[in-house]
Amino acid sequence: MTEVEVRTACALRLGDDGLVLSHRLAEWASRAPELEEDVALTNIALDLLGQARTLLTHAGGLEGRGRDENDLAYLREERDFVNCLLVEQENGDFGSTIARQLLWSTYQLGLLEELTRSTDSTLAAVAAKAVKEVAYHRDHALQWTLRLGDGTEESHRRMQAGLDRMWPFTAELFERDGVTAEAVALGIGPDPDGLRPGWDAAVDAVLTEATLRRPADTWAPTGGRRGLHTERFGHLLAEMQHLHRSHPGARW
C-alpha cells in the first residue's frame, strides 16, 4: 500500500465507525426513556456525525476519485463500508445501547488520544477536537452504567444482558491487519495492541464499580474492516441511504 492509501483507509474506517454509530443513536430520537436522554443521545449522534463528515471528506480527497462525503455515505454498497461490527449492532433496550456506548467510547477515546500525534495532519486535527466530545460520551455511558448496574434488580439484569450481547464485538477493535501495520510504520495511527491495556483497565474499573460481571471472551466475530457485516447492517443502510438514492442531490 502507498502512504496515501493507508491514510485513506484510516480515515475511512474511523469515518464509517462514526457515521454508522451516529445513525444507530439517531434511531433513539423520540423513543428514549425520557426527554433528557432523547436529547443526550442525539447530541452524541451529532458529534459523531460531525467527525464522520470531516473524515469522509478527507478520505474522498485522498482517494482522488472525486467522491465527496455524500457520495461515500450514501452511494456505497454494504460491502464497501469498513466500520467495525460493534457500532452497527442494533440498539436493543437502553441497557444494550449504554453497553455499546461504554465499550465503544472507551476505545474511541484511547484511539483519538493517540491520533492527536498522527503524521496525517487532518486526522490529528479531527482527533484533537473530537477528544473533548468523546470524553463526554464516555462520561455519559459511565454514569448510566453505574446507575443501571448498581440500580434495581431489573436494571442490573438488563445492563448485564446488554454487556454480554455487545462484548464479543469488541475483539475486532484490537485486531491487526495490513492497514494497522502500515499505519504504525508511517506514524499515522497507533498499534491496536497498545490500546488494549488502557481499555481493559478503564472498562474493568467501571464494571467493578457497577457490580457487573466482565463477560468471558468466547467468540470473536470479525470482518467489518473487510466489508463483511452482520445481518441487520443492510437494513440500516437501506434506511440511511433511501432519501439520497431516491432523490439524488436532494437539498434542504
Binding site: 425520557e34 426527554l35 433528557e36 436522554e37 436529547v39 443526550a40 447530541n43 462520561d139 455519559h140 454514569q143 446507575r147
Partner: protein, 83 residues
C-alpha cells in the same frame, strides 16, 4: 445557567434526573446545545421556596407607588456609563 464570566446565573428551565450528578449532565445536554453556558447550577425542585400567586398583592403592590425609590431624580453625568 451563566452565559459568561462576570454575569449572574439565570434560570434556564426544568429537567428530570435520578440524582444531582445526572441532573447536571441533563442540563448540559438540554440547555447548552447552542453554546449558551459557561457554568451550570442545578437545584432540586424540593429545595426551592417560592412566593405564591395568592400573596402577589401584599408582596409586590407596596413597591408600585414609591417612585422615589427609583433613581429617576438624580442627574447622571454623561461620563457614567454603567449605573
Amino acid at each position: 445557567m451563566r452565559s459568561r464570566r462576570g454575569l449572574s446565573h439565570t434560570h434556564a428551565g426544568s429537567i428530570h434526573a435520578a440524582d444531582a450528578t445526572m441532573a447536571l449532565r441533563n442540563a448540559r445536554d438540554v440547555y447548552t446545545r447552542r453554546g449558551e453556558g459557561s457554568s451550570i447550577w442545578v437545584v432540586p425542585a424540593s429545595a426551592i421556596t417560592a412566593s405564591s400567586p395568592d400573596e402577589k398583592d401584599p408582596f409586590f403592590d407596596p413597591a408600585a407607588d414609591k417612585v422615589y425609590r427609583h433613581p429617576t431624580f438624580y442627574d447622571i453625568p454623561d461620563e457614567v456609563r454603567n449605573l
